[in-house]
């Protein structure tokens, strides 16, 4: 009984997201567009529901929205910083780099959360996620400030993971 309701829930949020996406594609509120979009979203949801497990509706509970917004700004800051960092290195004729690959353990358990973290790391200053095996992140670091996992964790992942842990618990 419970399983079924979960299934329905999955269908529902997959469908809703897709329908929203359809609206974004068409940016039209014509009844025909919306109807067709609904039908097609339903169809795509039917095909893909078993894969689309990232975005449980839990995530849009009000408390978490705040964290989302918070994360966005943290990320945006890091991103802009990263870009100026890159600009600095690229323009500098000496190419000041000290690369290496470090690893650290993440506390996240949700696969989607790990992906968000990895992407964030890739987009932030001087780091690039090379691989994630289990909870171990391997990071290519353009300017290694310390080879041990703790330093790496602190420097690279902590600001993001703090918020992600709040969201995905």
């Amino acid at each position: 009984m419970k399983k079924q309701s979960i299934r329905f829930k999955n269908y529902f949020y997959t469908f809703t997201l897709l329908w929203l996406l359809w609206y974004a594609f068409t940016t039209s509120l014509q009844p025909a567009e919306l109807t067709v979009g609904a039908v097609l979203s339903l169809f795509v949801a039917w095909i893909t529901v078993k894969y689309f497990d990232c975005c449980d509706p839990i995530l849009i509970y009000p408390g978490r929205i705040v964290y989302f917004v918070g994360y966005f700004f943290v990320f945006l800051r890091a991103l802009i910083k990263a870009n100026f960092d890159v600009a600095r290195r690229v323009i500098n004729p000496k190419l000041p780099i000290n690369p290496g690959i470090v690893k650290f353990e993440s506390k996240l358990h949700n696969r989607f959360a790990k992906m968000v973290l990895a992407n964030s790391i890739t987009l932030t200053p001087g780091t690039l996620t090379v691989d994630v095996i289990g909870n171990t992140f391997y990071i290519h670091w353009i300017d290694v400030k310390g080879g041990d996992p703790e330093t790496a964790y602190k420097e690279i992942a902590e600001p993001f993971e703090r918020i992600l842990l709040k969201i995905y618990g």
């Binding site: 014509q30 097609l40 893909t48 790990k114 996620t129």
Partner: protein, 246 residues
């Protein structure tokens, strides 16, 4: 070395000939002519696509209606390529025995967990995008082929990231056959009802509405489905060729 020089000579002659002859069609020159009183096919299409067919995308109007017969052939080419591919790479029992009972695999190595997570999110998005592209083929630069190709790449993403991702071949066959048949049947409807194969129905709606262009969007949807299933089949067959030890 001598051969390469010879080849370069040949190609230069060919290139020069092409260049010389295309100079007779200067780049950017208007060769379409007056649209109101069409002398060329292009002008005729630009006139009748919005006026008669009420189809915003005149390329779509050409592809599906004015030159719809080409498109039927084109769909057939794709279908035949899929068939040919299957017949060329078909694995018989003897082949499997010859290769020591190896089963075919698509990918040999596990892919990154991140990509796998991402693919799951993107897959529905890509499918919907593909569908959007062919449903709006008469309104936007999309169409059945483009949409079908996008859907097939969505499947490609899943094929290369998941070792065990499989398509339901039965459904694929049904979709492929029925969409192809639908195309032909719509064409035949034109023949029966209006005396000309693939002739559009007279009711063609309002320009730039989703429901416009008469049967054009419908045909393009079927083309989209057919292309999507066929390309997916092609990719599936092409990738399922590596032997794997039992």
């Amino acid at each position: 070395m001598l051969k390469k020089i010879f080849v370069l000579f040949l190609l230069t002659v060919t290139g020069v000939a092409l260049w010389q002859s295309f100079r007779h069609a200067p780049f950017g020159e208007n060769r379409v002519g007056d649209v109101e009183n069409p002398e060329t096919v292009s002008a005729f299409y630009l006139k009748h696509s919005p006026e008669t067919l009420h189809t915003a995308n005149s390329v779509t109007a050409i592809v599906v209606n004015f030159r719809g017969f080409d498109t039927l052939g084109e769909v057939t080419v794709l279908f035949l390529a899929a068939t040919g591919l299957a017949s060329i790479l078909y694995r018989r029992k003897e082949d499997e025995e010859e290769e020591g009972g190896h089963l075919p695999v698509r990918v040999k190595l596990k892919s990154s967990t991140l990509v796998r997570t991402g693919a799951k999110i993107l897959f529905p998005l890509i499918l919907l995008l593909g569908i959007y592209v062919f449903v709006h083929g008469h309104l936007t630069p999309g169409g059945g082929f483009q949409g079908g190709a996008i859907i097939a790449t969505g499947f490609l993403l899943m094929f290369i990231t998941y070792k065990r991702f499989n398509v339901n071949h039965k459904i694929m066959v049904w979709l492929e056959s029925l969409s192809g048949l639908a195309f032909v049947l719509i064409g035949l409807y034109g023949l029966v009802a209006y005396g000309s194969f693939l002739q559009n129905i007279p009711w063609t709606g309002r320009l730039n509405d989703l429901i416009s262009g008469g049967l054009i969007p419908l045909i393009y949807i079927f083309i989209g489905i057919k292309v999507a299933t066929e390309l997916t089949n092609v990719l599936d067959t092409l990738m399922n060729t590596k032997p794997r030890k039992k």
